[in-house]
Assembly symmetry: C2
Homo-oligomer: 267 residues x 2
């Protein structure tokens, strides 16, 4: 199966680290610069095998997003990339040689939008970008570096963000709650109520009691990524990699790709 | 004595909270919006009495800094404000009615530049703004929300920031190390070596052992602002409010104001 994730967020917001945490990889070895003149996209593809499932995973990350003095073109590069994937998928579908089992699925199935943990609300660039992309890709907004925010602040921050998302009619992806499996429906209902999921990522293994866990070691304590009272990371991983991966892929094809195709036929 | 501090930093970076922590006030009661169309400056003045010294303190904070889609005018508003203070000081100095003991000193004696704790380096907006203002005001760069960064990451982050500051020839304020008091010289030498000071601010009082301290309570531990192994807050407060307050005021008058006056005479 091909699964393609796009990570959008400012430099240093923790995209590489979160991807490494999600997939147990080590992509975030280099320090990024804040001085790119334009938003760029860098992509890594690798194979993962788990429980007899071969997963071909592609992670696309923005570089320099939000760094430019003039941010008005911030989402243009991303929009171009998404359209390019839809276009080549369409061409392959239309081509006479097509073999439906061999169409390389390079559509972006999930866009993780990293929200800066300011504690106030969304920035203009967040609203603009999400609005520009919400009919093109499944967007799941997440609060990055959640270890910056205390528990009581986090609740209010989540509420303010969700209010702004609804007030601006931004269509974010919601985990489906009308599946045949009521257990899945319940899990998804809970996950939706935790939006935006507040995550922490780490490339460090720290000693926590007698266990070795992924975490961040501070002078005042140790954050354990897998501890659900520390952050929503476990919930995010479960939601996007196990419970709803197929829904994310399906919605991309049955909704977003169809929207693209319809728009192309009109032209 | 009048002491005027300008805080420059993005919305939600912790300016109000840090000022409240420094002066035991409660200015940060309102949630800021990220949607101001232009950078604005808001100012609060209050009187503090400590050890027979009456301090007339004015805190000026940027609003909406870094939020605009087009950030190219970010420092213009600040530049205008600084020049306006120098201009009215000059006019008062030149006026025939002047009473040297009554000139209201509204010059900005200290500019705290809040650096976002990305872990990478300075942003383009940081370099641009500091470069535009470094001949106008004493700039002390500080790393905000230092509880976001682990100890080992912090050392590298500080080094990268200082390298960029020197590489871009930005004149930041350094605590004086050639004073008559060798004890002060030593303290200042140490403080300079800790640049940029990494600070944490808090409006909450938390229970730490059997003490009530200003801090931030996380699920994994309690950050105590006054604890010098948690952050450089105590060092910053000591440096700017006690050891070097007069130097900051003096340099503003003997160096920055004189630079302004010279430029005005040339015009
Ligand atoms: N406090 C905190 N720091 C993080 C977290 N994730 C990553 N970092 C740190 O933030 C810095 C930038 O992370 P990186 O993944 O390179 O960000 P990217 O530029 O978005 O890819 C590094 O120093 C990381 O150690 C997190 O969840 N919390
Ligand atoms: N982690 C962390 N959060 C902070 C710190 N200082 C302030 N905050 C939080 O950041 C948010 C914004 O702070 P505020 O002072 O209003 O930022 P301002 O917009 O720059 O004035 C609030 O939720 C604060 O509680 C800090 O040192 N560390």
């Amino acid at each position: 199966i091909s699964f393609n994730i796009l990570c959008i967020g400012e430099t240093g917001i923790g995209k590489s680290t979160l991807m490494d945490t999600l997939f147990n990889t080590n992509l975030s070895s280099s320090t990024s610069t804040h001085c790119l003149e334009n938003v760029d996209l860098k992509s890594n593809t690798f194979e993962l095998s788990e429980k007899n499932v071969n997963l071909k995973l592609t992670i696309i990350e923005t570089c320099g997003y939000g760094d430019q003095i003039d941010k008005s073109n911030s989402h243009q590069e991303i929009l171009n990339y998404l359209d390019k994937q839809y276009e080549s998928f369409l061409q392959e579908e239309l081509s006479l040689n097509r073999n439906i089992h061999q169409i390389n699925d390079k559509l972006v199935h999930l866009c993780l939008y990293f929200i800066s943990p300011t504690g106030h609300s969304l920035k203009a660039i967040d609203l603009n970008t999400m609005k520009a992309l919400d009919s093109k890709v499944n967007i799941i907004p997440i609060i990055a570096k959640a270890d910056t925010i205390c528990k009581n602040e986090l609740l209010h921050f989540k509420q303010r963000i969700m209010n702004e998302i609804f007030k601006n009619s931004i269509n974010i992806y919601q985990f489906p709650t009308n599946e045949n499996d009521s257990c899945v429906n319940n899990q998804n209902l809970i996950a939706n109520s935790l939006y935006p999921l507040a995550v922490i990522g780490s490339n460090e293994i720290v000693k926590f009691g007698n266990k070795q866990v992924r975490g961040r070691q501070y002078e005042w304590g140790i954050v354990s990524i897998e501890n659900e009272s520390h952050c929503d990371f476990v919930k995010l991983r479960e939601m996007i990699l196990s419970t709803n991966m197929f829904d994310l892929i399906e919605i991309t094809h049955t909704k977003h790709y169809q929207t693209f195709r319809a728009t192309r036929y009109i032209e």
